[in-house]
């Protein structure tokens, strides 16, 4: 039985993973320039400030690009039984970009421009990752 791959929890990314386990999205925001930062960093990639705080962003966004994943390459074979599935680049309403699976729609019917909302999927005991579901 292969398992889905687990992240490496570090002092930097622990707040994100702790919140995700509770099915809450936490991302960093720069206290100097106000921009949201995803993925977790040691400093703001827009202004260089180290003064980042963890905040709950708006959970809605728009699909920018989508692909249907059909083969396992460089990842766990555990994904095979769920294929095919859609993976999208999602541009969130608070101005950050994130990758994730799109569930709740046929993979071939997911389109750029589609509005989505964050949900969470448990990939192991106590470990959850964001996924996206189309808004009605």
């Amino acid at each position: 039985m292969s398992e889905k791959p687990l992240p490496e929890i570090t002092p930097l990314n622990k707040p994100f993973w702790d919140a995700a386990a509770r099915h809450e999205l936490l991302v960093q925001r720069c206290k100097r320039c106000g921009r949201f930062v995803w993925y977790p960093r040691g400093s703001c990639p827009y202004c260089g400030s180290r003064d980042l705080e963890w905040v709950k962003p708006r959970e809605t966004g728009t699909i920018y690009a989508v692909t249907v994943v059909r083969v396992v390459v460089g990842n766990s074979p555990a994904w095979e039984k769920e294929m095919p599935y859609a993976v999208a680049i999602v541009d969130m309403d608070d101005g950050f970009r994130i990758y994730g699976r799109v569930l709740g729609a046929k993979p071939e019917e997911v389109r750029p421009g589609m509005r989505v909302r964050v949900d969470f999927e448990d990939i192991s005991t106590g470990v959850a990752v964001p996924v996206f579901r189309p808004l009605p």
């Binding site: 920018y64 059909r70 994130i98 421009g113």
Partner: protein, 396 residues
Amino acid sequence: MSLDVAIVGLGETPYSRARADKGEIVMSAEQYAAWATSLALEEAGLSLRDMDGQGLAVAGTEWPHSEIWSAEVVQNLGFRPKLLLRGDFGGNNAVELAVQAAAAIRSGLVDYVLVLGADSPMTPFGTQTARSWRYDIDYMRPFGLMGFVTLAGLMMNRHMSAYGTKVEHFGKIAVTQREHARLNPGAYVKAPLTMEDYLKSRVLSDPLRLLDSVMFVNGGIAFLMTGREKASRASKQPVYLRGYGLAHNYVEGDPAMPDVTTTGVKAAARDALQMAGATPADLDFLQLYDDFTGAVLMQIEDIGFCAKGDGGKFLDRTDISYKGELPVNTGGGLLSNGQPGMAAGLVHVAEAVRQLRGEASGRQVSGAKLGLVSGLGGLAYGNNLANSGALVLGVM
């Protein structure tokens, strides 16, 4: 200024998938490094000891060696260099190391730099491939992404949805490059390829097909660079570095949500052409880094042959074969040559050198005097590739 560094020696080994059952060569990266190095030095008429106190620039490998690896390479080869450079730029290794080599030669630090890429991804050793990026380990693999394959699919999907590009446009690149490979004695993949074959090939991550993607081969390439004075006395016709450009973490548009269909080659090629005092129309050929077909189409736009998004229409009206208006990847590119791991970018330099020397028999671009080589490497998060570069190479 831009004519003072040249390539004066080239070594390229045969490529192999290490299929012993098919009688193919099975060798390690160390053996390919030795082979490519001796071929390049021999062609330049230099001995190993002529390289004492000179420079060696070595690309990394797909299967991990020691962190302090270049020290092992020089001992393996018996080099005693003054300057030692190591590339961790993926598909931009060749361009990046060539630029670093040129800077070192111009500064007077050394007279020669051997740029070396040798890799054996089909002959793995140890139990693990190199460690990936943290954002891949933490925020891509657990999120269901398949690395390069997924990101290439996403970039091509964006190009199609934003600009109406069709899969046949990507197919034309795969088919034309295969025609070139069939004319190149050194290319690994020789089977004929039609558009029908392309369209029937397995979809890995929509719209990316198997035939949009590279496959690994083992092999080694080395090229020797030197200054103008020594180049003028070289045994082979020198191929001059006329211009270069590099760009890392290039962003087109909003830095938080950049255009994934634009490569950093846009900035790198602009700088390289400006240094060369040339325009895209002056280029006799392009050797574009082609880890997937979509990257070729995007770079044709980014270098300025058409507007962003018009790449598909440009391909409809343009012959990109070696006989055409804009010859692209005239040796078959990585798509049909095969990708020798982290040495891949050197394949494009080798083909450019052969074209400019007039040695590309069977696929020679008529009267080739000036060409562009690009590099693209490193998966980025939420963007096109992370490392990019361009060389403009020419002969008098």
